[in-house]
Symmetry: C2
Subunit: 330 residues, 2 copies
């Protein structure tokens, strides 16, 4: 009884992917990566300049969720590869940390080498953009777990920040909330998107560019703010749950954030989806980022300077005494 062929595991495809992984990872490396260590794990020295500064490692694991299903339906794999890196990097950026290294986890019903390599090339491209090393990963074929034609993509980002640069939530009444634009849906709300498309018989290919736009990376924005000495009193990555379910995580139980929903522009994908699906405004706010992918809380006196440093950033609200909630003025 020979197991792997019977189990639907394609060893040739696996070999084709694994054979390219070295080159893909080498294209997203850093000088601190130690080659030739052992193939069981990746190894990396700490970056220079942190000696004596009490370096803190910051880590996040996340997946791109069901965005993979739209990507596969459109045959566009590279963007979600970028998304998983950017999503985790943005989580890590909320602590003020810079991306250091990333590991991916790609699990599939059946491995198709071109698609998998396109995903991993997207992962590597985003690692390069974020300035981190692609230090490892795992590609698994598990036809008994995953539905026919489906796959899952997750990853782990480890970042680093000197202790004195660590951002700890500490918003005070009177502080300003600055919103940095998203590039679109990022990685959230795709269950709702697919249901709207299915219910209305819409061919998602017509809107593929809008629906699959890669997430915007905010690590550079945070690094710029730190370099300029901004007083960062809270950073939030706006993912599933929208502004109410994420900005609240950057607040203490003693303050609320009050946002003016008219203070920023919504990218076209949001009104298009809302109209197509007849989605209530309340639901839109709880599911989507609505055009604000990252929030920065700073003293009001610094808000204009912060907006000037970050492409497209706007003051979208203020911090008031409260109970750790996010409210809208309208």
């Amino acid at each position: 009884m020979s197991v792997y062929r019977e189990a639907g595991v394609d060893l040739d495809a696996h070999a084709a992917v694994v054979g390219r992984l070295g080159a893909i990872a080498a294209a997203a490396s850093r000088p601190e990566v130690l080659a030739g260590v052992g193939p069981f794990a990746g190894a990396m020295r700490l970056p220079a300049g942190l000696e004596g500064r009490d370096p803190v490692l910051v880590a996040s694991t996340d997946s791109v969720g069901t965005k993979v299903l739209l990507a596969a339906a459109c045959g566009r794999y590279g963007e979600v590869g970028q998304d998983v890196v950017v999503h985790c990097a943005n989580d890590v950026a909320t602590s003020g940390a810079a991306p250091l290294f990333f590991l991916d986890y790609l699990a599939v019903h059946r491995l198709e080498a071109p698609a998998a390599l396109a995903v991993l090339a997207g992962v590597a491209e985003a690692c390069r953009s974020a300035g981190c090393a692609l230090l490892g990963g795992e590609t698994a074929q598990m036809p008994d777990l995953y539905r026919e034609g489906t796959w899952d993509l997750a990853g782990t980002m480890v970042g680093i920040v000197p202790r004195d640069g660590l951002v700890v939530p500490g918003a005070e009444p009177g502080d300003a909330v600055v919103g940095i634009p998203s590039s679109g849906l990022h990685t959230n709300g795709y269950s709702l998107v697919r249901r709207v498309l299915a219910a209305t018989g819409t061919d998602f290919a017509v809107a593929a560019d809008m629906l699959l736009a890669p997430s915007r990376l905010y690590s550079g924005d945070v690094a710029r703010l730190r370099a300029e000495g901004a007083s960062l009193r809270g950073l939030a990555h706006i993912t599933g749950g929208g502004l109410p379910g994420n900005l609240d995580r950057a607040l203490s139980p003693r303050v609320d954030a009050v946002l003016d929903p008219g203070s920023w522009d919504r990218p076209p994908v949001f009104p298009w989806l809302q109209g197509l699906g007849g989605i209530a405004e309340e639901e839109m706010r709880r599911v989507f980022n609505l055009g604000v992918g990252f929030c920065v809380i700073v003293p009001a006196a610094e808000a204009d300077a912060v907006c000037g440093l970050l492409h497209g950033a706007r003051r979208i609200g203020e911090v008031v005494p409260g109970a750790g909630r996010v409210r809208f003025t309208g």
Copy 2:
């Protein structure tokens, strides 16, 4: 149109799991973990004693594969939670690194809070045993990706080692291969196991203890060898691919490892499976660890001392001139 109920996502179960995560992670922490940083990512200082020693971070991502299906069928979740941590820790140990922190990724068709919490309690228990912090993780419900009743469990371990303790493969002819016993199947070969059980109509519950035994952790063994100053010329974690497909990764292309298959005992699960499934010896060797979960290559003169330091370890072979392959004497 409200998405989550329709999409089969159980927010109550999710809240029940998330509400317990803090307590679970707190039970597997370390003094270096920084509490109250931000809920988007975990943060941890470097351990003391590495200043000026050029610390190297070592990382591995892996999953427990289809062992989850047997675990679910037996209603035993804690063991696979332990397995994912131990598997990644053993990968990291091949570089000589000690476990520092872990993040889990649990993705399910439908979230059942008691099962998920049992998995995560197993993760935390293994983190505690390995001496690492459970720094974060992600729990995702994706009924459109995962088959009814299935789930996937992966994770990422980050370890640390001073540069002068990093193990780099460098086996020389004449070196000895020492094998450390496995506790059983660990996390590999479960596709074959399930096929044998199905083909023979065997109720796996009768053998659940044997089949679900948690993996043995080798981090402590490696730490002991380092502390005793053993000349570590290669370390291998024996996973999918068995001894031929893993010990070879610790060899250079100039040497072979020649193993005596009669030099160690096979735990009962292996002859039981081999007899039940009529599995050829060749297949057994390519799929299972066969009782050796970790290999240590040292100069022959150190082999007896190394065996004396590690519970159950035996000299199982030697390094000869060759081409990077693993061969058996019989």
